[in-house]
Point group: C2
Chain length 425, copies 2
């Protein structure tokens, strides 16, 4: 069956037929439909009341292929079911950070949801050097709540296994398995290298043994460690922000995987913004350092805030149940064993996070799907220098992930990598 | 619906109605039905032709409760479906080590399978001090083939995820989660302590922080690391042997879990046999040491043989596919990265194995389900001394699992633990 994207009039007529959406948009009002067209996977429309533009919704529809590539890369449309289920689940856990779902259609594979009209994609804001004072706190909360409440630390063992079963998302996981963990380290035809990127840097990705081993270990964790329901693609293009609010969108990659993958995706994108700031912060003769510092502060605050809130939810869950309080570790009246386990758990999660951060940075430099932070640098030599720094830093994170002792050490390493580049130049 | 076990005549009539089974037993012949009655979970019958006793089958039926406890511990009968699926899967991978399934009935929750008439339960053979010259090699092969072929190292990613989905076995996993990883470390009413076991040893299980942390980490791995289809209960009571053959039975606990859990279960049971040999090897004035040495040799040979065969299957899979050869790590022409990843993989699997070995030993000392190696020691003081050694050794395995550098070091530790006890005595 050939797929044809909905026309504006078809979509408007469809939305009028859904009572709740029709009411939101203003009964049978004239609608403006704009295809946003920036999705890698899907069609996305802004639909608004022509007379009252603030009455608007977003419509997202999954075509039977990867939109970035076209019909040559078929994808089943059931991915929309994962997205809708994840939006609802994360929305229940974090309503303040997840757009509301108004309607989902499992025959057309589309979802109608809250329009975030006063928000923009975080990646764009970071490229423009905007400070979002509440962002790190919001993301720490989002991560702590979504990662904790899907795990065996909170859920009954059977409920967790049923959630993991429902979350199996083989097709989109395969994209990550290939594009993040495999192709960037091969001479794969889907890789895209910027013109001035040194051949030695590319060769190192393919042949440096400790790096390849670390990446394979992270791939194993990604494919085997079904810890919690992840967003699965938590980069700064999946976050919409303004000065007061932060929303996480686009969870079609949601599946039961390792907690560090979501945290690492976010940190990777802050770090890509940090390294590329060397260019974006200078173009008008400005000093890039204040915003670079702010970006590194976000890395520290997201991790520390996440870890503190995650531990807080965990302790609360163990302590407030009274006679029914439930401890993953088992009964432990002094809490001494439980606290030591928590510390070890967070230490291991930190190492996982750094490993995934490294993988996510590398794929954005040499893989098929790039980030505008890097690709918008028009000077080939400046871009390549930044790319090399990103690769060096990512490699260290991967290889040293068990040895790096805290997030402060990570940002010191980022600063040192940045400075060594400046000395070279 | 009340469950009533089949009477002998009902079972005989039932078997006569299954053409394949009826033919095996001799058409409409007179049958002898013996309920074996040693299962913790199920009813097990030996059925044989009265005139030609070598024409016989085993029938296993799952009642809607845990047989060890009775109707007070209800269990759904669907566990039989997991057992049958696992018998068929493992049988396809290792026909020489898995009993053949002749018939499975998903309404009566019973399976009719190959009678191993000349084999006995391995645990009984070990208590009697029998040497099985082919055992370690057989178990190494069984472990390597079953653990490798269910994993992402062999299966296509989607097939693996579908297998993991089909393998979800919440109810029986919950038994392990509680009885192996939780209750033994609490003051849980299901625990059973032998009369002379020192209170300090029990207290240590509850309060020694590094031990509790290590056990919680192994529980996390058990519940989250869906690496391959495991047997799930691979103790020496699940193995039937004679001088030439070894069969693995009773995989109703099968699920997608961490590879080290099956390997660790087997090593734990050899080590329980080793420590309890101190008693069984002396009762008639004999020297326990030769058989103790043989038992430790099994530990070394199972691990080393397993690791070598597992790596062999992995290399073969990567190298024989020609243009289609598939590498988990990705393309790696020199194999240098792949070999380094294999070494790291086995190192990590070894640490996992030791952790699970420790957990499985401890639960057999203080948990509800015991092993005859220990419980058949009538001298309370001698039994307690052996139990203390088992607990000390298990604790070291758990806490030092990342630091122990090879299986030889593990058996040296076992020997040292054994000798220190003799000096104490």
């Amino acid at each position: 069956m050939e797929f044809e994207a909905l026309t504006s009039s078809e979509l408007a007529a469809y939305l009028h037929r859904i009572p709740a959406v029709n009411a939101l948009l203003g009964d049978d009002s004239e609608l403006e439909v704009v295809e946003v067209g920036d999705g890698n996977l899907n069609y996305v429309y802004f639909v608004s009341n022509v007379q009252v533009p603030q009455q608007s919704v977003v419509v997202k529809q999954a075509p039977p292929f990867l939109r970035l590539v076209g019909e040559a890369w078929p994808l089943t449309r059931q991915r929309m079911e994962h997205e809708v289920a994840a939006l609802r689940r994360f929305g229940a856990l974090c309503p303040q950070h997840v757009p509301q779902v108004y309607h989902a259609d499992s025959e057309l594979f589309l979802v109608v949801m809250q329009r975030l009209a006063s928000h923009r994609i975080l990646r764009r804001g970071l490229i423009d050097g905007i400070v979002y004072p509440k962002l790190a706190g919001h993301m720490a909360t989002y991560l702590a709540r979504t990662l904790f409440y899907g795990s065996d630390l909170f859920l009954d063992a059977e409920a967790k296994k049923e959630a993991a079963r429902a979350g199996i998302n083989s097709e989109l996981c395969k994209i990550t398995e290939e594009l993040v963990f495999t192709f960037p380290f091969e001479g794969h035809p889907s890789n895209v290298y910027s013109e001035a990127l040194p051949k030695a840097a590319i060769e190192r990705l393919r042949h440096h043994v400790p790096l390849r081993v670390a990446v394979a270990q992270m791939k194993w964790a990604f494919m085997n460690h079904a810890e919690t329901l992840l967003h699965g693609d938590l980069h700064t293009g999946s976050i919409m922000v303004n000065q007061d609010e932060s929303y996480v969108i686009d969870p079609e990659f949601a599946f039961y995987g390792p907690m560090g993958f979501d945290v690492g995706a976010l940190l990777a994108n802050f770090l890509l913004a940090f390294f590329s700031r060397e260019w974006h912060g200078r173009v008008d003769g400005a000093d890039p350092r204040p915003y670079q510092s702010w970006l590194l502060k976000q890395v520290v605050e997201v991790w520390n805030g996440f870890a503190a809130q995650f531990l807080g939810l965990w302790r609360e869950h163990e302590n407030t149940g009274g006679a029914n309080s439930w401890h993953f570790i088992g009964d432990d009246p002094s809490h001494e064993c439980a606290e030591a386990f928590r510390a070890a758990f967070i230490r291991r999660l930190f190492a996982d996070t750094l490993g995934f951060t490294g993988c996510k940075m590398i794929r954005r430099i040499v893989g098929m799907a790039k980030v505008a932070d890097i690709t918008s640098i028009p000077d080939a030599a400046a871009r390549a220098a930044i790319e090399v720094r990103c690769l060096q830093f990512a490699e260290t994170l991967l290889v040293q992930r068990e040895a790096l002792m805290g997030i402060e050490e990570v940002v010191e390493l980022a600063t040192a990598t940045q400075l060594s580049r400046e000395v070279d130049a």
